[in-house]
Symmetry: C2
Subunit: 193 residues, 2 copies
DNA sequence: GCCAATAAGTCAATATGACTGACATATTTT
DNA sequence: AAAATATGTCAGTCATATTGACTTATTGGC
């Protein structure tokens, strides 16, 4: 083991010890960069954030894909299939299977659009609402305790941080979505159940 | 569209307008809760955060699983297969395929452990380092600009927020991992390439 | 009323990344 | 010598995604 290699290993976590005078040093700095830890934190945080709902969904024979469909339909009643495809960015075929299961098992209700009867407007049933709320609640719990432990301004900061992590081109869509304007749809509620 | 329905839809995002005197109101509050937007932000942020590397990986015929293996081996040279399984929480069989590809294509080098020759110590080659750095750089870029736009204290706060989002039981492992102590391994570097 | 466009559903085939359970091999420890 | 350990491998399954082509129902323009 040469000095160069042992320096590479020991110094990896110790940015203060480096001078980065060469290109190779600069490359190593990328790995030494303490922000790399944030990449890892983001990965682990997301993994654990989805693990809670996953465990509940498994009891229903559902997966993450079902969760997403249920969630966005719950939040945006009257959503069209096309809107959902646009939000989730998956193909019609990928959506079809999970949506069919949710409809067949009575979690989601489809109704032809009032003005355009080709459209299938989507609504959650009471059963779907219960499951969606259950999943949301467990995620809110984790989110709330994380924000609480991160300090008083954590919510606003987490919000703007997460929003800024979204690709520029996606931000307008996400912004209008979380503000309740899903794809400029003409949502009207539905006698769910 | 009746008044009731339009109120239902418009009011869904307007917690201030509610009184939540009944159980049904309380359930609706969950959905009205403005923190629900954070759940969605987290989903979209993670999706876009992984989209950048995914595009690069696709050029190599790799996927996200390869990225994770390459990343953690790069960050923790000399990692054992067992350590990697413990970090990624996948099965040996799931790891085997991606690891084999990375080894076969020369991104990762395996060497029998010095003390225990049953162990396969993992190291990135120069080629693996180049790819890993490329992927890290694009993620750091997004992270840096997000933190910059979120304000001066954003990094520390994002760090503690993300860390608190990790399940209690996982925190010690993640903490030691991001501090450079992967599974108390006796990492030594390797003539990479 | 005819025809093109649109919304949605469906078919067939494929890929990735995960899983389980069993078993093989090399090596170390007891 | 036997047990335990680290890894590798085989066979089969599942969930989620993909592409491309095609069908059906409905709408809207001419």
């Amino acid at each position: 083991m040469t000095d160069i290699f042992s320096d590479g290993v020991a110094g990896r976590r110790n940015p203060a010890a480096s001078k980065s005078s060469t290109a190779a040093d600069a490359a190593r700095d990328i790995q030494r960069h303490n922000l790399v830890g944030c990449i890892e934190l983001f990965y682990f945080a997301y993994r654990d954030f989805t693990a809670d709902p996953d465990a509940i969904l498994a009891q229903y024979g559902f997966g993450r894909a079902h969760h997403r469909v249920l969630h966005f339909v719950h939040r945006n009643p009257g959503l069209k299939v096309a809107d959902l495809l646009d939000i989730l960015r998956i193909t019609k075929q990928s959506l079809a299977r999970v949506l069919k299961q949710l409809v067949d098992e009575g979690f989601i209700i489809q109704r032809a659009g009032d003005e355009d009867r080709r459209e299938r407007r989507l609504y959650v049933s009471a059963k779907g609402t219960r499951l969606s709320d259950k999943l949301t609640q467990i995620q809110l719990k984790r989110l709330e305790s994380a924000l609480a432990s991160a300090g008083p301004d954590a919510e606003a900061l987490a919000r703007s941080f997460l929003f800024a992590m979204i690709a520029d081109k996606d931000r307008p869509q996400v912004e209008s979505l979380i503000n309740g304007n899903a794809a400029a749809n003409t949502a009207s509620d539905c006698g769910s159940e």
